[in-house]
Symmetry: C2
Subunit: 480 residues, 2 copies
Amino acid sequence: MTETRLTPVLLCGGSGTRLWPLSRKSYPKQFVPLVGEETLFQASARRLAGAGEGLSFAPPVVLTNSDFRFIVTEQLAAAGIDPGAILIEPEGRNTAPAILAAALHLAAIDPEAIMLVAPSDHVIPDAAAFRAAVARGIPAVEAGDMVTFGIAPSHAETAYGYLELTGPPDDIGTPVKLSRFVEKPDAGRASEMVDAGTFLWNAGIFLMRAADMIAACKAHAPGLIGPVEAALARARPDLGFLRLDPVAWAGADTISIDYAVMEKADNLSVVPFRAGWSDLGGWDAVWRETGPDGDGVVTSAGATAIDCTDTLLRSESDGLEVVGLGLDGIMAVAMPDAVLVADMSRAQDVKLAVAALTAKGKAQAAAFPKHHRPWGWFESLVSGERFQVKRILVHPGASLSLQSHFHRSEHWIVVEGTAKVTLDDTVRLVTENESVYIPLGSVHRMENPGKVPMVLIEVQTGAYVGEDDIVRYEDVYARG
Amino acid sequence: MTETRLTPVLLCGGSGTRLWPLSRKSYPKQFVPLVGEETLFQASARRLAGAGEGLSFAPPVVLTNSDFRFIVTEQLAAAGIDPGAILIEPEGRNTAPAILAAALHLAAIDPEAIMLVAPSDHVIPDAAAFRAAVARGIPAVEAGDMVTFGIAPSHAETAYGYLELTGPPDDIGTPVKLSRFVEKPDAGRASEMVDAGTFLWNAGIFLMRAADMIAACKAHAPGLIGPVEAALARARPDLGFLRLDPVAWAGADTISIDYAVMEKADNLSVVPFRAGWSDLGGWDAVWRETGPDGDGVVTSAGATAIDCTDTLLRSESDGLEVVGLGLDGIMAVAMPDAVLVADMSRAQDVKLAVAALTAKGKAQAAAFPKHHRPWGWFESLVSGERFQVKRILVHPGASLSLQSHFHRSEHWIVVEGTAKVTLDDTVRLVTENESVYIPLGSVHRMENPGKVPMVLIEVQTGAYVGEDDIVRYEDVYARG
């Protein structure tokens, strides 16, 4: 048996709020190490990389948005995975336009390309079992079917859609023809479906030839083809990203692949999958996936539970201790700038917390305390009326823009690594325990010419220390 | 009617753990603004200052310990109250030795001195009503009685001792002779006492002539007299504090005034008090005293409750947002370095949280993130393997010790006010937006010569950045 070559299509443009405060609009859950050491995105990419089970994976096509593009490249690099392409969606228009764009992109390169479309924020602990399930779907794909993956339900979940099969799955997990999609049910209906044995959870993972996906779109959602083809045809390459054309993209309907195509197609098979899956759609799911002990308690490093039951306690920061005392059915997630304490039964309502903070104009509603940039990241340590202190990390080889400020001077003290500092007409190296002063108005740039990350402490003083007091002269990342 | 002059004796050497994480061993609850804008200590001092209700208050005698002495002076200064004397207990030996020391100190100055002994961590919202109650006790004191204050019980509390009266209190709150002290009861006994109408809570507040207190000690706890007299006779004046002699002090029994004296004396009267009192003996008491809304919810600035009932949510830091969702009977108190989430019924068990963190060797168990020093305070903003960043505030006129370090260099950037910096043989002024570099090994001192607080950011780098890498050459605060 020869290896079948697949191209993973990783969807990571979304930004949910149900895992606030750890998942925020500026840095959503797929980029966070929610379960285990790697981020969900990294684990998703790794699951679909390399070869095995009769499969070999081509470098992934990643669909994301402009805000996340450098997080994507940074996290793939850290995981040692080269992307095949990174397509930038000008705006989120749900899954159908994104998947069609990936299909058109792949079919143009290889008319026989097979794509495995997967969200990048799901947990599948047993990667080998998942790849084996993918391999079981290949014959159906070769027969012209589009394959979805159906998760054996562990409970009567009301937060997922279901897949009704034409017959019960066997023990091996052989593909079964799909009878129909079922929308998110109420509790009673969910219970009936679980008992029936012919319903699986819809995991939103798809396997098909790119050409079959395009054909299905032409048949069932023909209006999508023109705008998405145009967005791809007029796409602008930018530092290794492919920016889909925003004008054309705006002409595509905002619609999910299920509504647009899958629910109408009749060439659908389902590969049953039993080896464990979660979309981590709430803190209750994180609690479940991170191994509650005999009392139902999950604690992170930095969290202590005393006389608690069925409780999740997470500290998301070094140096932050969380203690739960006498709690039952509570989840508490603490960060230095935001703490959520909720009844476990309200996991799906965490968006209300985000809405409340948004209404109060609080930055914590959407912004992560650590701000990721193409060159590294920064965080504000403390700020006062006329000063702000930041920690800044610059990746090896990276460079900030050449810039100046109207309202602030800056003191830079290097505490790790070596910086190359341009200040007006001079360039000098500044290393650990050395400092440099950037007077108001001077044109300056910070680079890391070395092989290890460079960390510096920046103390800004001035009448105004906001991020928008910046004039950029040159920027290797082509930012405005 | 002439004014009666009283001297408040404020006890503020204690450090409970039931209000962790806001109250910690290094900075206990009396020094924290738990209810309202002022700290409990400041409110206690203000309640017993000035004149009114036929009383005039002399400057207070404060009993505290060495660690808290500069917090006491700083908070009294901020409240505009001059202390009469600040007695430093070499170690805590419960209330009897402390009160006897104050009595001996006062009687030596004025044999007729009347003292009002009060803990500094209680809440009494209606100061005028309290002073009126004190005034009602004066005739009993003049008749030679020792007066205690009895709080009309609002519920069958099991955490307090009770005072049994010889008869029911009248509506005016006229003093009643005490029948006996009752230890903390169980719930059933507490309920019986509340129903009986002749039992009041023992608030631990006492009014008597200093000479009568000394006489009572001589009669009922004669062993205390010698050690406490000696500790006072050999006390060492130190920068406005009076340090009781530690050797003599160690000879005094560790015993409460109730056990040592009050339960044995027969010249006791009780002034009933109905106008509101709490010892804030737990977060449930804080919840009760800070005005729950119609749903029983209390939120601080920076806290948001969504669908909560009977819940306390407190953020103790600017820039830290706490959100509670669907909670019932929960209390959550969040600080940047520690978060407590507890069932309200477990308020008396918060000490278990402190014990658990102590067992884990966590600094948060006992140390406050902001470290108070005689010259101001500092806090660590971030630390790494080989660096630490601190914010340091120096009071106007204050000065750090002349010092050097073996393992670290320091960069100082002034962000508010002006610093006078001594560096080896040079002295210079450093003002906002200026920096100075302190090389490893150099002898240096930081002072604030100005009229406004001076704030600087200190970036330390070196192989070891612990607080104990310090050689002190001169210190105006006489520290080792």
